[in-house]
Each structure stands twice: as C-alpha cells, then as structure tokens.
Amino acid sequence: MLAVVRGETVNAIWFVFAAICTYLIGYRFYSKFIEKHIVRPDDRHVLFGHHFAAIAGSGPLVGPVLAAQLGYLPGTIWTIVGVVLAGAVQDYLVLHFSMRRGGRSLGQMARDELGVIGGTAALIATLVIMVIIVAILALVVTNALAESPWGVFSVGMTIPIALFMGCYLRFFRPGKITEISIIGFVLLIAAIVGGGMVNGTEWGQTYLLLDKVTIAWGIIIYGFIAAILPVWLLLAPRDYLSTFMKIGTIGMLAVAIVIIRPEISVPAVSGFATTGTGPVVAGTLFPFLFVTIACGALSGFHALIASGTTPKLIQKERQTRFIGYGGILMESLVAIMALVAALSIDHGIYAPAGFIMTAPEKVLQAEWDALPVEKKIKVKGR
C-alpha cells in the first residue's frame, strides 16, 4: 500500500510472503476459533481417559507388587523397555488398523485376513486367553481374601454398595454418574475402615475368616450371579466406581512417592529370581516376570480393548498415536509407581500380610525370615 502510494514497484515475492503469513496466522488462530465455536472441539483427552480406564484395572497395581520379590531391576527394566518396544506398539497398531477398518474387532479382522478356519482359531485363542486372565485374577483375589476377615468384609461390602448405586441411577436420579460415584467412593472408604474394626471383633474372626476353597466357591457363585443380573444393577455401577478409584489411586500414589521419596534397599536381582522359591509367587524370573507384569508392559488383552469401543470413537487418524501409544504409557507409569510402592514397603507388611500370598509359599515364610536383613525390603530409616 505504501509502495503504491509512493509510486514504487512491488516485488512479487511479498505476495507470496504475505499469503504464507496470513495462512499460518489464520490456521493457528482463526481455524481454532471456528473449531471452538462451530465444529465440536477435539475431545481426545476424554477418549484417552475412556481408553485408559478400559485397559487399566488392578493389573498394573497387582503385577509389579508380585514381581517385587525378584528384586527391583527385572520389574523396572521389563516395565519400561517392554512397554516402549512391545506393549505400546501393539496397542497403537491394533487401534490404528481397527480404526482404518471401521472399528472392526480383532476376531473380525482375523476372519477377514485368515479366512474362516484361521479366524475361528484366532477366536478360540482369544477365548482361551480370556479364561487364563480371568483365572489369574480370580487366583489373586482368592489369595488376597483367604484368612483375612478385613478383606472379606471390605470386598464383600462392595456388592451392596454397587447394588445401591445401580438402583439410585436407575430409579432415583438417572444419569447423575459423578454424583453417585462420589457417594459410592465415600461408602467404599467407610467399608475399608469398617473392615479394620470388624477384623478386631470376635464375630469377624468367627464368620469372616474363610479358607481358600470357601473363597473360591464364593467367587464362582458370585461370578455366575453377576453375569446373569442386568448390567445396570451391578456391573455398570461397579465400573463407575472402579474408574473413579483408579484415577484416585494414581493421583495418591504419585503424591505419596513425591512426598516420601522412599529409598530402595532391596537387591537389584534377588535370589528368588533363580531359585524360584519366592514368598509371593513360587517361580523363577523366566517366565514369571512376564506372567506377573502383563498390563503395564505387554498385554495381549489390550488388543481386544484397542479393537473394541475406542476405535469407534476416534475422530481422526492422528489421535491413534496419542490414545493407543500414550494410553499404555500412562498405565506403565502406574505399574512403575506400584513397583516403587511395593519395594518401599517393609517386608513385614509386604510378605506375610496375606495379601496375594499363596498357600505353599506360606511354608516358605520361615525361609524368607531367615534371610539376612539387608536382603529384605525395608522402609528408609528402619
């Protein structure tokens, strides 16, 4: 404009510069404005939360606690290197390819690629994997609750709490999920505190001190009833509650580790890694490290989740990297925090608390106690 007024010539290159600068500013600011006001804003963070809640349960918390007996190094290396090179790659690719195929499930994709026989074989393998995972989780629950009135009371109370939440959402205030989750959370904390009191009473010791066989039958019967009840009554409210608890646990673990900054005094690789006589899981490093720490490092089950609901909710391809690869990185972080927590707990709480301790290993308690003190897991300052 100035040049035109002064009668000077205008070089064409400024047209190009002006255009590029305008495009960049427009792309950076005006398209964002349009996105915010007209197009639905990108809510990939919410989908990230959904996906994370679906892949992460008790696995990244329980697995590292079990593997802590092998020393700090195997679990740490497997969790960090395993997730970056294996687990996250699997999640990312399955999510990406499922999304490109219109959100098809793993079974459907296998059928498309491998034909009827190959697809059926893949489906059977998937079913077997699911059965094995459920069996392992049931074993963990059985071991955690056996001989523990506290555990039986607190976990048992989650059933009436979930039923109450389900009825509240169905009949009283439909859709108020956050509200009922907070109420459920308060009730759950009360159940955990109450469990401690019940543990000290005589009737608690008489009626709630159950052995493994009784607990196992209880879980089988509960599993059957839970499967045939309507979803709104029991499973949906449990799901809301566990999502709420998961986010809370991660936050509390992170804050606790930053505040306490626990010092690790366990050996890098303990003797249990080669002898297979550990107090928590009786098995050597190969293959037990990779069986115990699945979620958080590499879990085949994630392929089912990554080809389930998440790919159907993805808005654009670019999001798959953030949600697929990033989601499991977050889970791995939970696993590392759980490992740190397990390594910093006094062995007196870690091993004999009845938490995830199996029957044959209780015999090994004496062996464990006979270990020199520096080989045991200690809290700083003890």
Partner: protein, 75 residues
C-alpha cells in the same frame, strides 16, 4: 479475583473431564446429535422419525444396550 476465577475455571475443567470419562455427558451429546441429525435431515440412519427421548428414557435405553453388548475391560 483473577486467581479465584482461574481456580473456578480449573475446577470446572476437572469436572467436565471427569464427567466425560465417566460418560455423564452422554445425554447432552445425544440431544445435540438428535438436534443436528433428526431436525435437519428429518430422519436418522434408518429413515424413520425418532422423537427425542427424555433423560430417564435415554439412560434406560443406554443400560439396556449395555446388556445386549457388554464392553470388555482389561486386567
């Protein structure tokens, strides 16, 4: 005042995120979708008119769908 406003904005963001992750915003999304697709096109995918469900009807429908198509959860 500005600090207070910032805290309020942050808290609102946390609640929005939590509701999104827990799925509480499903009815609002449904209403927005219904307004967008059923009023402009006068029909949904199946070509039939669908009256807007009330919140209570919507949540019943939602849980009934979950019954028919349960979603997996990992370890």
């Amino acid at each position: 005042m500005t600090v207070l406003a910032g805290v309020r904005k942050g808290a609102r963001g946390v609640i929005w995120y939590l509701k999104g992750v827990l799925g509480e915003d499903a009815y609002e999304k449904y209403v927005a979708h219904h307004a967008a697709c059923c009023e402009t096109d006068a029909a949904d995918f199946d070509g039939a008119q669908h009256p807007l469900m009330t919140a209570r009807e919507f949540w019943r429908d939602q849980t009934d769908r979950q019954d028919q198509n349960p979603q997996g959860r990992c370890c």
